[in-house]
């Protein structure tokens, strides 16, 4: 039996509808402020998608483009202004930043209550710690957990193997799976035999950025596979000359896995849905307090 496909697009749409519903019950519009430094076209595309999603769900967004050569001081002053601005409930600094801006110092300047990307070290620290809860959980990792939960995958007591340990994906996913009581194994470029690790896993999360690296014979029959990777590979049959694939050799792995997320249409759409969710939660908290 081929694996069940986890439809991230459908689940993300479901969550966006929930978000729109929560917004419709508020006497205000939750606000997201975005900061881009420089002219990267990929960053511009991501941020444009986020603004569009905000609009569709009734959130307002405020965009703050800054020149490529802006001083770090100026970025931090802007963040401080946004921290104090009552119309702004979430602040998103699009990464990567140019060299003259220290990522740690810039992200550390965001008020943890408005840190809807969940990258502030206090939020990561609380995510790591038992009996502590961050104000916000990073969006892509949160989206992966949400996909598992809405597909009725049990996490507690299961063996989860995570490929990748980046600050924005692999590490926070590992910490979230641990908080949900999986036995967690974290792999990375120093792992000599990743296949030996994934073979015993009930849940595999691939976040390495290497097209189709995870093969069919790496997978335990019935395992749940979450593919975070987004890699573009040349494809002459497409007008634009390439197509996007994940870190998992999807076609082949479908034959053994129990469930699998496609690329595109799996984890991808969840990231923005979780960002909207974090913003609305931040706005609701200001009403409650």
């Amino acid at each position: 039996m081929p694996a069940e496909i986890i439809d991230g697009k459908r689940i993300a749409a479901e969550i966006r509808a929930e978000v729109a519903n929560r917004v419709s019950k508020m006497n205000m519009s939750p606000g997201l402020a975005t900061i881009i430094v420089g002219n990267r076209t990929d960053s511009a595309t991501y941020v444009r998608m986020k603004h569009k999603a905000c609009e569709e769900c009734g959130l307002v967004s405020f965009h703050h483009p800054l020149p490529e050569d802006v001083e770090q001081k100026t970025v931090i002053e802007l963040i401080q202004k946004l921290n104090a601005d009552e119309r702004v409930h979430g602040i998103l600094v699009q990464l990567p930043l140019p060299k003259q801006c220290n990522e740690e110092q810039v992200l550390g300047a965001v008020d943890i209550k408005k840190d809807v990307d969940g990258f502030h070290p206090v939020n990561i620290g609380r995510l790591a710690m038992k009996n502590r809860e961050p104000m916000h959980v990073p969006c892509t990792p949160k989206g992966c957990i949400e996909l598992l939960k809405r597909s009725n995958v049990q996490i507690h007591g299961k063996e989860a193997v995570i490929l990748g340990r980046s600050n924005i994906v692999g590490l926070p996913i590992s910490l979230l799976l641990l908080k949900n009581n999986a036995t967690v194994t974290i792999c990375h470029s120093g792992t000599p035999d990743m296949a030996a690790q994934t073979k015993k896993a009930d849940i595999v999360v691939a976040a390495i950025g290497s097209a189709g690296m995870v093969k069919k014979d790496w997978i335990k029959p019935g395992a749940v596979l979450i593919d975070v990777g987004i890699n573009s590979v040349p494809d002459e049959t497409r007008k634009r000359g390439y197509r996007l694939v994940g870190d998992i050799d999807t076609k082949a792995c479908e034959e053994v896995a129990g469930m699998i997320t496609p690329v595109p249409g799996g984890v991808g759409p969840m990231t923005i849905a979780m960002l909207l969710q974090n913003c609305v939660t931040a706005a609701e908290r200001t009403i409650e307090s």
Copy 2:
């Protein structure tokens, strides 16, 4: 061939001598402030040992006992005073705290530069994150890594299985082993079969608080075993009626392991040695800056 015993007492003495040597080269005495709330005899003993160790290595210590029913506000005001006190380079709040004191809020009040226990969420967050470094690393976990390094155990590329995920031991040890490029598996009370995990490990760290739970047939031949557990078991042959044992069934595991830390005399002595190291580092940083 029986396992090599990792002599924590000897290594800790070595580190204390290094600390004393660093202190002797300074024109000042590094200062450690300790806070105890209430009258727990175990807490009093631990703090007394820390003060004694400070004295032996040329550090000064300042003790601040507070009554069991002290308000949290008072504890935090004291911490703020110590944060501002130039004679104090390290602040240690002995845990556990009584109910009326919120551990997170109290520990979060310590200046991260003086957080020689490494429990501030910013320090834990930085410990978790790639390319970030905490101001201080928690003492017992740091002591475990130090034991491995000074015993010439390679960590990079090895498979490490950690039993336990507490904020003060299991979790930070896991994060440190990951930073040192081990492939890391974290087990806990939700892990259905811990033996299956430890059997594949090159390095096992046991930090569960369960006397002799790790058995001989859990261990891969030649594995390195770090026993953090301290458990008292009844023993009528001893004057005090009990003895201390670790989480590992040492006698039996010695027959298969490559190296093993004894209890007592393994990880135990390292905790205070690392505290002294953190304090001296904090003091040296004030001179540099």
